[in-house]
């Protein structure tokens, strides 16, 4: 699992990556820079994942494959993997989103 995270954290601008259990919001594996509260990100990302899933079900548009939340000082990128694991990356605002997305999807396949 750490190999999957290695590929994500190697991308320039990525400050951390995590595998999170979508069901209970707990950290499965993490590689984070200092200052990122892994357990808080995990719990809140899983909560958001649950709400997004229900919103998408209600809208009848299937399941989400990738989310990108842009903030003032950074960005949160998430790929929900088939196995009920969320692959999460915390990155700087100017990160190459396409590259991180690719690595998140690869990690999602690796842990499925």
């Amino acid at each position: 699992m750490n190999n999957a995270l290695d590929l994500i954290t190697r991308v320039r601008g990525v400050r951390g990556a995590m595998l999170v259990s979508a069901e209970d919001g707990l950290v499965i594996a993490e590689q984070l820079m200092e200052g990122i509260k892994g357990s808080a990100v995990a719990a809140l990302a899983a909560s958001l994942a649950g709400r997004l899933r229900r919103a998408m079900e209600a809208a009848g548009i299937g399941t989400s494959v990738f989310w990108h939340l842009q903030a003032d000082q950074g960005t949160l990128l998430v790929v929900p993997a088939a196995s009920g694991i969320l692959v999460v990356a915390v990155a700087e605002a100017d990160v190459n989103i396409g590259l991180v997305r690719l690595e998140l999807l690869r990690a999602g396949e690796a842990v499925a």
């Binding site: 069901e23 209970d24 919001g25 707990l26 357990s39 719990a43 809140l44 899983a46 909560s47 649950g50």
Partner: protein, 156 residues
């Protein structure tokens, strides 16, 4: 959802915890089962049962830890198909507080409850009255004290 407290200093931290962690039921109590505050319960008998059972679990797991020559367990989580039960204790100046929380797996999670439980413990430690010894409930006064607490908890 109704949140009520026998000890008023517990009310705001508990209200915040219920909102943030999206928990369904919460009891704050002493290890003896004396309830300080509750949220989400609609019947006094349910509060009494939950408090007694929660206190019993804290006592039995504490004794189990002693038998294993370990420090008391930090928290206990029991997850079912639809609900989870989270039970934990933390010290404040006046003694130990027990938190019993029940959450729906559809709207909350263990991670979320753990995250905001830490905040609840911090807030309660900060809000607890300093330098005051809690009133001891004597056996002779137990029933009256219990009735008064339940009346307060259910706004009677």
């Amino acid at each position: 959802m109704t949140t009520r407290a026998v000890e008023n200093w517990t009310l705001q931290p508990l209200t915040d915890f219920v909102r943030e962690a999206s928990v369904r039921l919460v009891l704050l109590m002493t290890p003896a089962g004396q309830v300080l505050a509750q949220s989400g319960f609609s019947r006094a008998v349910d509060v009494m049962s939950a408090a007694a059972l929660g206190a019993a679990i804290v006592a039995s797991t504490g004794e189990l830890a002693k038998q294993l020559r370990q420090a008391p367990f930090a928290a206990l989580n029991h997850q079912g198909h639809r609900h989870g039960i989270f039970l934990s204790t933390f010290p404040i100046e006046r003694g130990t507080i027990v938190v019993l929380a029940v959450y729906d797996l559809d709207v909350s999670s263990l991670g979320l409850v753990q995250l905001f439980y830490e905040q609840l413990a911090t807030d309660l430690k900060a809000a607890s009255p300093k330098g005051r010894v809690p009133k001891q409930v004597l056996a002779a006064d137990f029933e009256r004290e219990l009735s008064e607490s339940l009346n307060t908890l259910f706004g009677r």
